[in-house]
């Protein structure tokens, strides 16, 4: 019974993770400028990876295995945040302006 419950929760978490990964990818393809695309990619992927790791975490055999999963998550999150910062910084230095609605005159 408890196994069934755990497997069910894992499947739900994996589906949730897949949803955020898909949303991030659609954002990457559809958003209008580099800043919003970075936003979609890193934010959504981080939540997607978080849910995926959570799904595996409740299946972990030992504390050690769980800690390794958490370490993978932490490394991926910090790496993606750092890379997003680098890309945005480069785009900003190259003078790329952020996208605005066509009728939105500042």
């Amino acid at each position: 019974m408890i196994d069934l419950l755990r497997d069910g929760l894992t499947i739900l978490l994996l589906l949730g993770g897949a949803f955020f990964f898909a949303a991030g990818t659609i954002g990457l393809l559809r958003f209008p400028d580099v800043y919003s695309r970075l936003h979609a990619l890193t934010k959504a992927d981080n939540v997607g990876l978080g849910l995926t790791v959570l799904a595996f975490l409740i299946q972990a055999d030992s504390v050690m295995q769980g800690l390794k999963l958490v370490l993978v998550w932490a490394l991926a999150v910090t790496a993606s945040a750092t890379i997003a910062n680098l890309f945005a910084n480069l785009a900003h230095r190259q003078g790329i302006r952020e996208w605005r609605k066509p009728d939105d005159t500042p």
Partner: protein, 335 residues
């Protein structure tokens, strides 16, 4: 852990998608007219290939492909591209006639070689036992638990010796690109200091925390290589990756061009390997034929030397050819 077994249909779909993606990224990388795009696609291709090796049950090869094939080669290609751009030596798009001739000159031999490989692959018996049984029977004589390490460092160590020498040769080839003598190099060799990107605090924060962890992973890969997937090459690639990270974040102190300790370390791997082989001959055995009682100790210690030596070689490759001595001083004689 309760296993959620994959259905055969899902596995086939996954493997099929992977195969198509590998072929597509390879094609796109080769045919892309923009060099940066080609390099990025090459890295993606390497990562997908590593995934394919995992699916084929070869985690050792997957690790090597991800670390060396995708990671380090990608870094080297990007470094070269940056260097070419800074020195404005990227060739202009070729004129149609000469470009076409060059394409045929490269493409035709490649197509022939690829065709021959495909012929051989298709002629293979589908379920040949290979050397798995032979390795399994004799693995006990090496003392190591990882059959791949037993093959690489004992049964077929001559191949590995040549691989180590090849990496050293690559460094020598890179170093030989440094022009010698007066007047052979112009002021364009060194990029103007203003082109160096500003220091990135976020990147520096991240690298300061990642580097020690990555060094630990490298040391672990060397140590675990005797009993599980890992080994000297993978460890060295991780060490070199740490150097590359320090380099892009501006934290590294560049190795001085003629640093003798670095050069000695680069040669140490090949020398130690050959010495081990000769020592076996002196003891009345064949070249590189390890005695059963000593095999484990010899393999682990040689792997330690190899990991350090290969790391030095790969770091030298990432750092590129040392600057000619005269250019390290500001040039007064030029107007």
């Amino acid at each position: 852990m309760s296993t959620l077994a994959m259905s055969p249909l899902a596995t086939t779909a996954f493997d099929g998608t992977l195969a198509v993606l590998i072929a597509w990224t390879a094609w796109q990388s080769v045919t892309s007219s923009e060099v940066f795009r080609a390099v990025v696609l090459f890295v993606v291709f390497g990562l997908l290939l590593a995934l394919a090796w995992l699916r084929l049950g070869a985690p050792d090869v997957a690790l090597a492909e991800a670390a060396v094939g995708a990671g380090l080669t990608g870094v080297l290609l990007l470094e070269s591209l940056g260097h070419l751009r800074r020195n404005k030596t990227v060739e202009p798009p070729e004129t149609a006639g000469r470009g076409r001739l060059r394409r045929w000159a490269v493409g035709l031999p490649a197509a022939v070689a690829g065709g021959l490989l495909a012929m051989v692959a298709l002629r293979l018996e589908p379920r040949t036992p290979g050397i798995a049984g032979l390795v399994e029977r004799h693995q006990g004589e090496t003392g190591v638990g990882n059959p791949v390490t037993a093959v690489l460092l004992d049964f077929r160590s001559a191949d590995t010796l040549l691989e180590v020498v090849v990496v050293l040769l690559a460094v020598i080839a890179t170093y030989s690109l440094v022009p010698h003598g007066p007047g052979l190099y112009g002021p364009t060799v060194r990029p103007p200091a203003t082109l160096r990107p500003p220091r990135q605090p976020v990147l520096i924060w991240f690298v300061r925390r990642l580097a020690p962890l990555a060094l630990l992973v490298g040391a672990y890969l060397w140590w675990v290589g005797s009993s599980a997937p890992g080994g000297a090459f993978q460890a060295a690639a991780v060490f070199a990756a740490v150097y590359a990270l320090l380099r892009v974040s501006g934290l590294e102190a560049a190795p001085p061009p003629n640093a003798r300790p670095l050069r000695l370390l680069m040669v140490a791997g090949s020398v130690a390997f050959v010495c081990q082989g000769l020592a076996m001959m002196a003891a009345g055995r064949a070249f590189l034929d390890l005695p059963e009682a000593w095999a484990y100790g010899l393999i682990v210690s040689l792997e330690a030397v190899l990991a350090a030596s290969l790391a030095a070689c790969l770091i030298a490759l990432v750092a590129g050819a040392p600057r000619p001595p005269r250019l390290s001083r500001p040039q007064r004689e030029l107007p």
